[in-house]
Amino acid sequence: MKITGLQVFWMITIMDLGMTLIMTLSPSMQSAKQDVWISMLFAGCLILLVTFFVTNVTVLYPEKDLIQLSHTILGKWIGKVVVLIYLVQWYTITPIVLRQFVDVIQIMILPETPKAAVMLIMLLLIVYTTHSGGIVSIARCSEILGPIIILMVLLAMAASFNNIDLKYLLPVYADSGIGGIAKGTLAPASYLGHSVEYLMLASFLYQPRKGAPYAYWGVITAAFFALIAMLMATITLGVNILPKMWYPFFEMSRKISLFGFIENFDPLSIVIWVASVFIKLAIYLFISSYGTAQFLKIKNWKVMIWLIAPVIMVFAYFPTNVSEATSNYLMNYWVPFALPVNMIALPLLLLIVGKIKQKKSKSVSH
């Protein structure tokens, strides 16, 4: 299984962009108000730093993925603990994303369709993709879907141009203050932080050493589009209504009204957004199956898909309502734990220990 740098770029972009756009604007806006774009800038910078750690870790041992890396760098036991922490992240985020996806579909367009139907279709799709070619088929899908998703975001924004009111951005800074902006940074940063999955993806690259720029550009592209989309949503519907809505970006596309006959644009943007959820879920299914298989030393990782897919489905039923799935998970696990530990501390630890080890081994060999 080998993938190209461009495919990694698209995978990271899609994985980051889709969910950040939809899920983080409200929580971010509730604290940063009209300065949400500043929050987004900070979030982008923070994640670039994370990406810096991550890409440098992968360069240490280019042929190894996260599971092997942490074993090599941190030794058998600590390595296992670190891997477990990541497995927890993957095993919980996948059902949550699936559930959030179902919630969006139910709230916005198909209010009466049973959850199971929507979930099952998505699950079968990602199982099929992952099973048929592993990371290669996911990568190829994202190469095709990526530009379409970007185009959808641009189209939705272009069509909103007649609704804008720039005064919604004023006053800058005064209403939220540094505290509000900092707090508003957390949610988008934690969603953009999916670039840590590059740790798993890098070893599949044809040239793992040259993968770093693609990861950077993936993060930059995602952060940039999320930023202008948030800006656009802010100036179309304003800071009074938007923080109270679940999915502000779709609300913005719902406000679109062109020439008196193009209205209620949201189904189109939702349908295309589903593509980004699909890529994200497929990547997670792949890395959790592949990672678990390696962790448990199972030779045929595809067996794990059949084990994990039902688990995802069952877990996705756990949240009893939309706020448990969307905000509780985000605010109680993802932001306070996954962001500082999985995305910043552990990559940093791997980087530092790995560097020291390599220097030692070099000095020994000399």
Binding site: A117, D175, G260
Partner: protein, 387 residues
């Protein structure tokens, strides 16, 4: 392997084909609501009126002869809140109520004066609700009466209201702007106001010629005539506004009026804090073109005088409108609070909660500047007899 694939493909295609079935809604099982109205009954309940399009009643272009059935159905029911009233309505309808095409929401005056409640939340919460529906308040009548009154230009009266609003012939406000104003501290909501026009005893239709002013969620009054124009000018909703002034005293041949059409209007609101009190200066700049001249002036020479006169007129109208919103309505519909919020954000934090009370007391200065850019094809009126 092949069997496996066939199994997969068939399973996925099955699911893909079946997704629509759970909440499928056929066209002839839907009652497409084009406008809804809200009134207050004497018992204090909410009365919802729906204007529903009947597709079979709309004659196709081929079917020219023969009288078509009425293309709309209007139904009303009262309940504890909108959902309760909708239930009452649904029980008498064989088709499912669908709000996806609702373009207009009509608010009865009595209901609005008592306070806009109970139905407000559903305007955005339901997945069928749309931002681009227009909201209008009735003047001197009920929403029920508006929705029941015939309208001759359109087959469906609701579409008439919708188009009147869409074309900006009068003040037009969409739901999101209304709710945005309601939910913010720095401005008060307004809507267009609609009333029934009557000729003799016969009902003719409706007219949208006023603006309803809200203070918080309660209707407090209406703006009309010059005040409405002034409000639209000041808030840059100037599309299609015509102004007429008495330029000269009437003579035997002419009445001495000049009318212009607005091309551009700009407002700059500057706020200051003096001795802890907000002071506001408004700079209003307008550009217009002359449409009619019933004086014996040659506009190529006297344009400055006309500009001055219009500038004075605007000044008078805008000040009149502002003092009415301050003294009578006590509602900051122009959004002076918003400018204050932007220009003095830290002071605003302290006073935003009682902006409502402060607004009537602030002093407002107004400077108007009126330019006439074009005068049409003629210089002096062509019908003038030259001495």
């Amino acid at each position: 392997m092949i069997l496996n694939r066939i199994f997969f493909v068939s399973l996925i295609s099955c699911l893909a084909l079946l997704t629509g079935c759970w909440d499928r809604k056929e066209m002839d099982d839907l009652a497409l609501v084009l406008a809804s109205g809200v009134d207050l009954t004497d018992e204090g309940q909410v009365e919802i009126t729906l204007q529903i399009a009947l597709p079979t009643g709309i004659p196709s272009s081929l079917q020219s002869s023969g009288k078509a059935a009425n293309p709309i159905v209007v139904l009303s029911a009262a309940g504890k809140d909108s959902i309760d009233a909708f239930d009452q309505l649904q029980q008498q309808m064989s088709r499912r109520i669908n709000l996806g095409h609702r373009g207009v929401i009509v608010i009865g005056e009595k209901y609005a004066r008592q306070g806009f409640d109970r139905i407000l939340d559903t305007l955005l919460r339901s997945s069928e609700s749309r931002y681009n529906s227009y909201i209008v308040t009735t003047y001197g009548t009920t929403a029920k009466e508006i929705l029941n009154s015939p309208y001759q230009l359109e087959l469906i009266p609701a579409i008439g209201i919708n188009k009147l609003q869409y074309n900006d012939y009068s003040l037009s406000i969409q739901i999101d702007k209304f709710i945005d104003a309601l939910s913010s501290f720095d401005k008060e909501p307004v809507t267009g106001a609609i009333r029934v026009t009557k000729h003799g005893s016969k009902q003719q239709g409706f007219i949208l010629d006023k603006a309803a002013v809200y203070r918080s969620n309660k209707l407090v009054g209406f703006l009309s005539g010059d005040e409405l124009k002034a409000f639209r000018l000041l808030t840059r909703k100037f599309d299609g506004i015509h102004l007429t002034t008495q330029m000269e005293p009437p003579t035997k041949k002419q009445k001495g009026t000049i009318s212009v059409q607005m091309i551009k209007a700009e407002t700059n609101i500057h706020t200051e804090l003096k001795n802890g009190k907000p002071e506001v200066s408004i700079y209003f700049k307008a550009v217009a073109k002359v449409l009619s001249n019933d004086t014996n002036m040659d506009l190529s020479k006297t344009i400055n005088r006309v500009e001055e006169r219009f500038s004075e007129d605007c000044h008078k109208a805008i000040m009149g409108m502002l003092s009415r919103t301050q003294k009578k309505f006590k509602a900051d519909i122009v959004g002076i609070g918003r400018e204050f919020h932007i220009q003095h954000p830290y002071v605003w934090k302290k006073i935003k909660n009682d902006w409502n009370m402060r607004y009537p007391e602030i002093s407002i200065q107004l400077i108007t500047d009126f330019r006439i850019e074009r005068v049409g094809r003629t210089q002096a009126p062509a019908q003038l007899q030259e001495n």
